[in-house]
């Protein structure tokens, strides 16, 4: 970004890197900041939007440390990321919900509290973006993201689908949505904490059994929260999080994003270079953000989502599957906080026409460079991938596998040519029933 070529020159256009602000129509005074990187390869590549979780963390976290075109070197220069997802897509990063990153508002009431607010903002942004880039509007469109975006993604996908069916504005060619180590169905994922922790040797059987006593309480509280509760959802958040903190209390200081690692004191990762870089005056000037601060993660946005946290976002997914929209759920196997077991359980439990076939489908290796990079289970529009040797941030831990996963999924060739079927149906259950 420093050393920018002067504004408005055609050469800058050729480089295909854009940044901008979108005025949120359903707000008092909010502007959403985004990055758009044209595909490094095929100009007719699909459009992929990435949503970071937190909740309340900025998209630049993923852009610089996971799957964006650049990495930040120690001396604040940028190096190309060989496995950036712009290798296979026209790639969008949006700072949302408003209040995080360079997105800002002049009115605190614009801070979003639920998925209706989030999905409406993203939908309105997408409409304006495609109006600005009409040449992209008919491209295949995929929604991807991670962690708390396991809430945002299905909500946004449902909003796009609803808009298309009602012929609202520009028709969006939504082909699929992918959730990485997400939180989508808390009623299934929270009770999976003690089971995953026991399986991975983080807690004893006795500690597991003690935590199991909380599960009925947590499940009841989530049921009370439902899809539109308020204070009941807050209570559920407090009750159910004792399952997670109960595991962590006995897990010997493991990094809950990657149980193979330990946090150094309170430090599990060091993303501080991102803040340094984005606060460089030359970078701010290049991006046109003026004197707007960069908020890497927002505690206020996090808290504003507390009533949203325990809501079930799986409910809107079956309709999307039945209408032919693909879903990929993937999870690094060493992540505790959004572990693969909880994700696998809600995916297997989803009520849709392909449920039994999916459950019975064979588990096949996901092979990259002739080596098994994960275990894949799929049927029809639905795919579940357990990624080996990765934690919460799969594109950071397994960048090549993540890029191949994206490419294969968008080309409907995830199982790949050289996939070897090595497992029997019962092992398929393994992904779920092993516990």
């Amino acid at each position: 970004f420093p050393n920018i070529i002067s504004d408005g020159g055609a050469t800058v256009e050729d480089l295909g890197h854009h940044a901008g602000y979108f005025k949120l129509p359903k707000s008092q005074g909010a502007r959403m900041f985004y990055f758009f990187f044209e595909s490094r390869k095929k100009k007719d590549a699909p459009v992929v939007i990435w949503l970071t979780g937190g909740p309340g963390c900025s998209s630049e976290l993923a852009m610089f440390y996971e799957n964006g075109p650049f990495k930040i070197d120690k001396n604040m220069s940028l190096a190309w990321n060989e496995y950036g997802w712009d290798q296979a897509s026209n790639l969008l990063y949006v700072d949302q919900p408003v209040g995080t990153g360079f997105s800002y508002t002049t009115d605190k009431s614009d801070i979003r509290h639920d998925e209706t607010g989030v999905s409406d903002d993203l939908y309105d942004f997408l409409q304006a973006f495609f109006a600005e880039h009409p040449e992209l509007a008919n491209k295949d469109f995929y929604i991807t993201g991670e962690s708390y975006a396991g809430h945002y993604i299905p909500a946004f996908a449902a909003r796009v689908h609803k808009g298309n069916r009602a012929n609202e504005g520009v028709h969006v060619n939504l082909k699929g949505f992918a959730i990485g180590n997400g939180l989508t169905d808390p009623a299934i994922q929270y009770p999976a904490y003690p089971d995953y922790a026991l399986e991975m040797g983080l807690i004893t059987q006795a500690e597991h059994d003690r935590l199991e006593k909380i599960v009925p309480l947590c499940e009841l509280s989530i049921k009370l929260c439902g899809t539109d509760g308020t204070t009941s959802c807050l209570a559920s958040y407090l009750v159910c999080n004792t399952l997670f903190t109960g595991v962590m209390k006995h897990a010997g200081g493991v990094n809950h994003y990657d149980i193979r690692k330990k946090c150094e004191g309170s430090l599990c990762y060091d993303f501080s270079n991102m803040e340094k870089f984005l606060n460089l005056q030359s970078v701010r000037k290049s991006l046109g953000v003026g004197d707007i601060e960069f908020v890497s993660c927002s505690t206020s946005v996090y808290q504003a989502m507390l009533q949203d946290w325990m809501r079930n976002l799986e409910v809107g997914i079956p309709t999307l599957l039945e209408d032919g929209i693909n879903l990929l759920v993937y999870a690094g196997e060493y992540d505790l906080i959004c572990n693969w077991l909880g994700n696998s359980r809600w995916v297997n439990a989803m009520e849709w026409s392909g449920k039994e076939n999916f459950k019975a489908s064979k588990e096949v290796p996901f092979v990259v460079d002739g080596k098994e990079a994960g275990k894949l289970k799929s049927y029809g529009q639905l795919s579940f991938l357990k990624v080996h040797d990765a934690g919460h941030m799969v594109p950071m831990d397994q960048p090549k596998a993540a890029l191949e996963m994206l490419k294969g999924w968008m080309e409907n060739s995830l199982t790949g040519v050289d996939a070897v079927t090595t497992s029997t149906t019962t092992e398929g259950e393994d992904l779920v029933a092993q516990m």
Partner: protein, 62 residues
């Protein structure tokens, strides 16, 4: 009530939402100057230009 039921001190202050949000940020070694990007309309040059701008303003950068 569940904490008394389970004799579990997980309801300590460190687990309340704000603390969890701050812990998340500390774990990533991040130090945002603001806890949220709400700008004061009166003193921002940007805000004063708000009314006339189109819904999306984009620029190319290198």
């Amino acid at each position: 009530s569940s904490s008394t039921l389970l004799n579990d001190r997980s309801f300590e202050i460190s687990n309340l939402p704000l603390s969890r949000a701050e812990k998340l940020i500390r774990e990533l070694n991040l130090f945002p100057k603001l806890d949220v990007n709400v700008i004061d309309v009166t003193d921002s040059t940007l805000a004063s230009a708000e009314e006339e701008v189109p819904s999306i303003v984009e620029r190319s950068f290198r």
